[in-house]
């Protein structure tokens, strides 16, 4: 696997649009979009099935305690 750890401006390859965008800008670009993707899901309301699941688990737990 190629080692791409060095941060350096990527040279334009044949057939591709040349870019002189420095890596730090592209990294920020990546970070912003990554967080946006992540936050899109985080901001969704919690589906009812999960609330119900936790309530069921808790109710079973309490039942176990009261009968032990």
């Amino acid at each position: 696997m190629r080692n791409r750890n060095k941060t350096e401006t990527q040279p334009a390859k044949a057939g591709e649009a040349p870019t002189n965008v420095p890596d730090s800008k592209l990294h920020a670009h990546i970070g912003t979009r990554l967080r946006r993707l992540f936050d899109e899901v985080v901001e969704e309301p919690i589906p009812d099935k999960f609330r119900i699941l936790l309530e069921d688990l808790e109710r079973d737990e309490l039942k176990k305690k009261s009968t032990s």
């Binding site: 591709e16 649009a17 870019t19 990294h27 670009h29 990554l34 969704e44």
Partner: protein, 188 residues
């Protein structure tokens, strides 16, 4: 019987959106992600006695989730190379600024190996430190750093062509991006 939420249940409930986001980034499919989250909640609940009070519940549950995901992958076999290509099926609100841009990004993300994508998401989106991410992924800190670097380099390479549309629109570039992002995959 009281429906008063216990602290643990409340804490877990609060973590669900985060867990869902992480699960989606791993498997690229909201339905499968929710199954993963469900399994994670069950396992976490069953093993609460092994959770140390005062330590990071979020990191602990993230660990359970990713372990569940990767062991499922091994079992399923067919998704060992799960590229999360369905990630772009998730609705990015149409008409919003950068709709195509996000589709390109999702496609690029789906092109990463799962361990690199996981590392990038843990550090770059979920807000964990390298040390925390290493613990969650059960590897060395150096391994996480290497995975993150490689993920960034790979994304940079994949997005290199489309990046110029951000910094200067170019129809020819868009054509290249459209071709590169194909591969039998059609975002919604």
């Amino acid at each position: 019987m009281s429906n008063e939420p216990t602290p643990v249940k409340q804490a877990m409930l609060r973590l669900i959106p985060n867990l869902r986001a992480f699960a989606v980034s791993l498997c690229g499919d909201i339905e499968r992600a929710d199954d993963l989250v469900q399994e994670t909640l069950l396992k976490a609940w069953d093993h609460l006695d092994s959770f140390q009070e005062g330590t990071n519940l979020r990191a602990w549950m993230f660990t359970i989730l990713r372990n569940t995901y990767f062991s499922e992958c091994r079992r399923r076999r067919r998704e060992v190379e799960d590229d999360g290509s369905k990630a772009a099926d998730l609705a990015v609100h149409p008409g919003q600024e950068g709709h195509l841009d996000m589709q390109d990004f999702k496609r690029a993300l789906s092109g990463l190996p799962p361990d690199q994508r996981e590392a990038l998401v843990l550090v770059g989106a979920a807000g964990f430190s390298y040390e925390e991410a290493a613990k969650i992924s059960n590897c060395a800190v150096g391994t996480i750093k290497s995975r993150v670097n490689r993920a960034r380099a790979k994304l940079t390479e994949l997005l290199d062509v489309s990046a110029s549309t951000d910094f200067g629109p170019d129809p020819a570039t868009e054509a290249i991006v459209a071709r590169a992002g194909g591969g039998g995959f059609r975002p919604s």
